[in-house]
Amino acid sequence: MLKKVGVVAVLAALCSVVVATTAWGSAKPRTLAAATGSVKCGKKVTIGVAYPETGPAATLGAPQWDWANFAKSTWNKSHKLKIAFVRGDTQLAGNNPQAVQVAHAFASNGKILAVTGPAGSQEMEDTASVWKGASIAPVSGSETRVALTRALPGTPRETTPGYFFRTVPNDGQQGDNVATFIHNVLKKKNVRIIDDEEAYSQGLSLQVKQDLQAAGATVTTDHISQQNPDYNSVITAIPHNTQLVYIPWQVPAMAQQFYSQLRANGDKQIVMGSDGTDDPSTFKGAGSYVSGFPVDTSASALKSFQKAHNGDPETFGLPTYTSVMVNANAINNACKAGHGKTTRNAVRKAVAKVKLSKSLSLLGFPVQFLKGNAGKFQGPGDMGGAAAFGIYQIQKNGAYTRVG
């Protein structure tokens, strides 16, 4: 009896395997439904927002969601075509590779015409083929890896041109900027870089290290996990003749804590953070430097956001606002061109053509996407023109003043 069971089971399994490998095509890329169907614009259109709502990186996702909502309410107040969101929890660095699940869910949801997010560069790596098969070009506010838009020697381009855009300058641009500032303006020759073992941090660290070493400076590196708050031993290990410590981290509170512990230890090195630590309400170490968006802090939109969020500008989420605006504008334009009806492909092409003025983008520079390579690190999908980070110095009263 058991033998019969065994035979039947094996046969059933083999059947399904054979069926799988021979039927339903073999060389087609992942086929997805609702890819090219036409969607009526009507009164409301849907944008998918993918961000880490839960998981260890939830601290980064919350500002993105807050700014996305702010963008939605700002847009809906002044436009006839309203936007609605479908959220996707991508749980960056969390449980499952939910980013892929989110990508498939969004791709199959016929209502979604455009996508804001996802947040992590490695998430884009996994989902690029899914988005391409669904004819969606995600517009991300925080994916900064250079290889997503520009092929460099040794690292091929990871997305197809026209299928990915980002409203944030990439690691190459930021790292280059920072290294130039450190070397030319601050004239520091002995630098230590401490990264927090996340992909964002390691990308920046590598770029800055390469640039500084090429300019002749001495660079040492160290790492500390984002979940380990005791910086004392890392601080002790800093070589005596280090003049500047660069911390390309994602959480401003940790940067502030590092600064406090460094000074408490009696060390006098200058601290420099990346755009992830750009937060005037938290990171207040006087004399430190930060790279961040050249945001116009007097802009009324920024002020009303701060009022609604306890004075916290949550600058990490600012590019997500821009990304939602880009998507909304693209859908609006595509709907007008299609006379009330549009497809994902049309929206995708419209995204490439969107132009936002400085006051609309809130980033301190107008937004316009590149069609080809530009500069050392930019490629199609990056923002062109004046898009760059500024370097800020933190004053004694906590204010940020632009110095580079």
Binding site: A62, I194, D230, N232, S233, V251, Q257, G266, A286
Partner: protein, 330 residues
């Protein structure tokens, strides 16, 4: 490749010299005191219920938040409305009480009904409680990070306050008030615990219940009450550790209990789980190991070194440093 790494380490040791070594020793002792306090909670609960309470790290996290709440209720670190010493005492008191009651509540709701269930049931229940606590705090705080700014407590205009004054200096390396506070408070609390467990009647009851619960019940000891008190004491210690964490390391958020709890749990195991002096010893050892390996080997290998040491250690000496062999009955 290996000799390169070894040369780097020796180089690093030489370049940091004696001041560096003392600094790492100091860091390790302070960190180790925190680990020891949390490890005590793990080991006491294991001794009495044979339960690995995975939710303990989250009680520590809640303790840190309660301390932060008290701090903010009295104006925050930069402009406190009452003098610092009463403020700190109040933070400790409220946080310890709050964590203690939280621990007791968790025991009543999640562990008591599972007293007689197979051992994996309370383990899974503990995991469930841990998830629940982390996600609840995440919901309540909107995943934000909060800073105690303990170094600026009592300082003028955002400068460093008295907590950072050096108590004594060795070779140019200061040992600050806050670090001494952490070590002394930890030692004091551990002293009180040792007195409680080994010199009082209540402690005798606790040891009896840990040894053989049925026999203790037959001797007239109210095991339920003793178990609740054990959880209370363990959680009180975790709450105190939470406030110390806030004052010394500062960055409070919903996920902070996870890695800390794991390392403290390691400490409890290395010292011999179920043994109170073992937990203290284990905590200090893990703190020192982490500090020295971060300083000499570098951040990327330090965790691996610590974990590797532990695996090796357990394989060589399976019951930990001061643990006792469990007698297996047929």
């Amino acid at each position: 490749m290996h000799h390169l790494v070894l040369f780097n380490i020796i180089d690093q040791i030489r370049s940091l010299g004696w001041p560096g070594a003392f600094s790492l020793l100091r860091n390790g002792l302070v960190l180790g005191s925190l680990y020891a306090l949390i490890a005590l909670g793990y080991t006491m609960v294991y001794g009495i219920l044979k339960l690995l309470n995975f939710a303990h790290g989250d009680i520590y996290m809640v303790g840190a938040f309660i301390g932060y709440g008290v701090l903010v209720a009295f104006g925050g670190a930069l402009s406190p409305t009452i003098p610092i010493v009463p403020l700190i005492i109040l933070m400790f008191a409220v946080s310890m009480a709050g964590s203690g009651f939280l621990g007791v509540a968790i025991e009543r709701v999640a562990y008591r009904p599972l007293r007689t269930a197979p051992r994996i049931a309370p383990l899974i229940s503990a995991l469930g409680v841990a998830f629940f606590l982390e996600s609840s705090v995440q919901l309540l705080t909107n995943s934000a990070h909060y800073l105690y700014n303990g170094y600026q407590l009592g300082g003028k205009n955002g400068n460093f306050g008295p907590l950072l004054n050096p108590v004594f200096t060795v070779d140019g390396i200061p040992v600050t008030v806050v670090q001494t506070l952490v070590i002394l408070t930890a030692v004091a609390l551990m002293g009180v615990l040792v007195y409680l467990v080994y010199r009082t009647k209540f402690g005798k009851a606790m040891r009896a219940v840990a040894f053989d619960r049925e026999a203790a019940a037959m001797m007239g000891i109210d095991t339920d009450r003793i178990i609740s008190m054990t959880f209370f004491i363990g959680s009180v210690l975790a709450g105190a550790a939470g406030v110390m964490y806030g004052l010394y390391l500062g960055d409070t958020y919903f996920f902070l209990g996870f890695l800390f709890g794991l390392k403290a749990f390691t400490a409890a195991v290395v010292g011999g789980i179920g043994s109170i002096p073992g937990a203290m010893l284990g905590g200090i050892l893990i703190g020192l190991a982490e500090s020295f390996s971060t300083g000499y080997v570098g951040g990327q290998w330090s965790e691996l070194v610590v974990f590797g040491l532990l695996i090796g250690f357990l394989i060589v000496r399976p019951t930990g440093l001061l643990g006792s062999h469990a007698i297996q009955k047929v």
